[in-house]
């Protein structure tokens, strides 16, 4: 259930632009980290199963 925050004012166009830029930057970093973890877990799986990567 969402509550209405009385202190919350509408963002100005500049604030909205800065907010979206920060959001985009965070999304890119999160995607890069997730990709890195996928690769890391891929190699960990090999080591755990075979005792080596190749």
């Amino acid at each position: 259930m969402s509550e209405i925050d009385p202190n919350k004012k509408a963002m100005s166009p500049e604030e909205q632009k800065a907010y979206q830029a920060r959001q985009k930057h965070r999304a890119i970093i999160t995607a890069a980290l997730l990709f890195f973890l996928v690769v890391l877990f891929y190699f960990i799986t090999f080591v755990k199963i075979n005792g080596s990567v190749l």
Partner: protein, 301 residues
Amino acid sequence: MTIASTSPHKLASAQDLFALTKPRVMSLVIFTAICGLLAAPGAIHPVIGFTAILAISLGAGASAALNQWYEQDIDAVMKRTANRPLPAGRMDRETALHFGIGLAVFSVLLMGLAVNWLSAGILAFSIFFYAVVYTIWLKRSTPQNIVIGGAAGAFPPVIGWAAVTGDVTLMPVLLFAIIFFWTPPHFWALALFVNSDYSKAGIPMMPVVAGRQSTRRQIAIYSMILAACAIAPFALDRTGAVYGTVAIVLSIGFAFLSFRVALSKTEDPGAMKAEKHLFSFSIIYLFALFGALIADRIILA
């Protein structure tokens, strides 16, 4: 000084989340963890070794984030910390708490699943120790806070060792003791000549509570215990002559500088040359001692 309020539309940036992990402190954690990992007998696959160091780093970052979540009020009144993301109002406390807990859980699970559950257990305990025992419980209540905080910083080589061997023997305990007894002389030497606003923030730092002369005497006492711990691995035949020679020479130097501090009477921070020399040497001491441990292991191998 009041804590800056966070705008309802404030979204913490990736840089601020990174800053929350105290990256500079993390470098020492990574270094000592790598040393523990390399000094341990046996072998570890490079991928697993890398994962262990990554998990230790993330655990240290989680501890730092939880520390800043709790200490927002203290950080806001000290010049050195006032520009951190929370007191500066660039992030809300809830974000820091969620980030810290998330990182802590992830680091422990990563360590347990990829490396082993003993090192994961020690990592979990070290995060709990730093965030709860040190930050929440003892930091504001005792002038021995630095001594207790030193224990949290002493865990990484033990975790690195346990990641390779799956156990904790006398040697990792000695590595723990070296960092534990190194921390008080290192930080108190700095606290003697730097006014870090701790008294303004209500933190009972030793030079403020017990006075400068008492702190200087305690530095000398800790330096003797540190020397005993640093030389012990060689005396107990756990390392070779390379480490032994470096440990003896460095410990004599550390004790000499500590006793110069103990004999100093100056109250003027600008004239505290002995304290400044000890602080600079203490950093070289730790890096050189752990570096010698690795060199010794490579030569013996």
